[in-house]
């Protein structure tokens, strides 16, 4: 393996891993606090992608349309998440886990069909925006600036979330509710509000990932299921409910995929699952998770 190949596979692996981190982080935060495994998290991501396409084509006359979409699309997804939490999820916290799965699975179908209804079945694309649409030469390899931008976004969101959770009053409340719901309630924390807030934050992250993806890929139906499986792998490897775990898991998955394709392409698809099995056997609670 040459130096260029090493650099190429590493950068491509990490840049894809970063987008997956954003989605997995939302999934993980929601599970950590609400104890809801949101199967429809991938659908929120896909909704973000379609909104990104919708907004950029709506605002195509305005310079920097994509940046407006990046600002508003995730917020719209967060609002959608808030509506889902308040009107649907809130009713089933006391019920069995099975109802969560049925409800969130129904949401996959509803959101998928809604996207199909609103945006059609064709493939849509969004061009990479200025100033991140060029190329740079790194180690003799031409590399798109947009992928570096994705890595930057992933890192920024990771650090931002750590600061939010560790050092702000909001983060303290969230951690308190996560740790002990009844006690937090007794101490005067508005638990339903925290739940809604956390679900909206998770949805925002999914929407953000959904908005960041189209410039390097296509907007298409079916992307919801593709990412949700990868996100499950990430949170299982990293530890469900752990933010650093999601970060580590995403980087591991990205690199595993990139180098798997380089070294043994025939088995590349299987590597992630094999690692997941190994982790489940050795550390069922994930690399950075806490045992129950």
């Amino acid at each position: 393996m040459t130096w260029e190949a090493l650099a190429g596979q590493t950068l491509s692996g990490i840049s894809v891993g970063m987008v997956l981190f954003l989605i997995a982080a939302g999934l993980s935060i929601i599970f950590g606090t609400l104890k809801v495994l949101n199967l429809a998290h991938g659908s929120l991501y896909m909704t973000g992608s379609f909104l990104c396409y919708g907004l950029t084509s709506l605002l195509s006359q305005i310079p920097g349309a994509y940046w407006w979409a990046l600002l508003f699309a995730p917020i719209l997804v967060a609002v959608l998440g808030g509506i889902i939490e308040i009107f649907l999820l809130r009713r089933i916290y006391d019920q069995e886990m099975l109802y969560q799965y049925i409800l969130t699975f129904a949401l996959i179908l509803i959101l998928g069909d809604a996207c199909k209804f609103l945006f059609g079945v064709g493939y849509q694309t969004v061009a990479a925006p200025w100033p991140v649409n060029g190329k740079v030469f790194l180690w003799g390899l031409s590399f798109p600036v947009y992928n570096l931008f994705l890595i930057g976004c992933g890192l920024a969101v990771f650090l931002g979330l750590i600061v939010l959770m560790r050092y702000t009053a909001l983060g303290r409340n969230v951690r308190a509710v996560t740790y002990n719901r009844e006690m937090a309630n007794a101490l005067g924390i508005n638990v339903p509000k925290v739940y809604t807030g956390v679900f909206m934050l998770g949805s925002y992250l999914a929407g953000l990932a959904g908005t960041l993806m189209p410039p390097m890929s296509v907007v298409a139906l079916g992307s919801d299921m593709a990412v949700i499986i990868e996100c499950f792998i990430i949170v299982v490897i990293g530890g469900l409910g752990s933010l650093p775990g999601a970060f580590l898991g995403a980087i591991i998955l990205g690199l595993l995929n990139a180098f798997g394709i380089y070294i043994i392409p025939k088995l590349a698809v299987a590597f992630a699952f094999m690692l997941m099995i190994v982790v489940l056997i050795i550390r069922p609670w994930g690399l950075l998770g806490k045992p129950e």
Binding site: G122, L141, P215, G222, A226, Y262
Partner: protein, 413 residues
Amino acid sequence: MKRRVIRSIVLTVSIALIFSWIGPAQAAEKTPIVIGFIHSMSGAMSMYGISSEAGGKIAIDEINAAGGVLGRPLKMITRDDKLNPETGLREAKDLLLSEKADFLTGTISSAVALAISNYVKREKKLFIVNISQSSSLTEENWHRYIFRIDTNAVPYWGYAPAIALAKTWKAKKIISLGFDYETGKNSLKAFKEKYLQLVPDAKIIDELWAPLGTTDFTAYITKMANSGADAFFLACIYGGGELAFTKQAYAFGLYEKMKAIQPCAGDVETWYQVKKGESYPKGALATCRYPFWAIQDPKSKAFVEKHQKLVGFWPSYGAMNQYFIVYALKDAIEKVGAVDTEKIITALEGMTLNTFVGKVPIRAYDHQAMMPNWYGVMDFSPNLTFPHITKVDVIGEEGYHSVDKIKALRGGK
């Protein structure tokens, strides 16, 4: 009360009378010759169905305006197969039994085509395919009642790109990337078979396979960029996958680093929304099934205009094929002098269609029309807003499996 009853009786009787009067009057006119058209009219592939329907309609309007066929008008009845073989078969049965269709045409899904093909074989009715690409329809699964006026997967994905590459760049070290499923594997196999025969010192240095539906190809692209190949071949990566691949390959500078052979990239359906300045398969050698911008015959120009007027977008190759199918049926019926399936089949066998893309013979052995496959280099030109093939050249019968090859395939079954 009584009056009301009487009034309603009078009304019913008079309505019945009116209808019985209209009925025979209609029958007294010439009954139309009915062409059943089964296609994907809703869902992901509906663009092709709508476009093909428009192509057929243009031909029918032209023919009817000129007096029809044997003095009878043509009529096309459209049904949606929803890409589902059972639905397609049900619609085919209904078209033959209830609508008394004389011929069946259409289909994009090869599975639907096969279901209808098996049905018409039993019913001894004619079925002409306008899009479905699976070569087995006219090779291993061929029978007397199926025709195809369209290319198929062998020339389009494999042989034509191979011949085009051998005529142009003669790349020696090729890396391939394909979707990991049957059509992907078959298209690489066909490409290799033809290309290595034409350029014996060439080599496929590596074969990469991505799961069907992949939209993130970055790791494959960085690998291809560092593979030392002088060209890459895309085996059946189409639609959303192709758009995503192209975007990423363009961003990674892959099109500058090596030559690209990207079958399918020449078809307008994938690219018509892409504008200048956005990523496209820059300089790639691509095949195309209807490069209307490069066809000089004014009939083609008129056809493009009529299609635009009818449905509001550029015609797909399916529209052109359906147009030719209707004309082929007209010619055959006129030659025979009656709507007689057996005689029409005999007339179609070996018939040469005189079309706006030139003379297209229908090969008697496998009922496959020798539709040309065009190729060229992807670029922009001042007249069109989207990237398209330029320096267009054409490949005819040499792009298809030879009769001997098909004999061997059928024998091996």
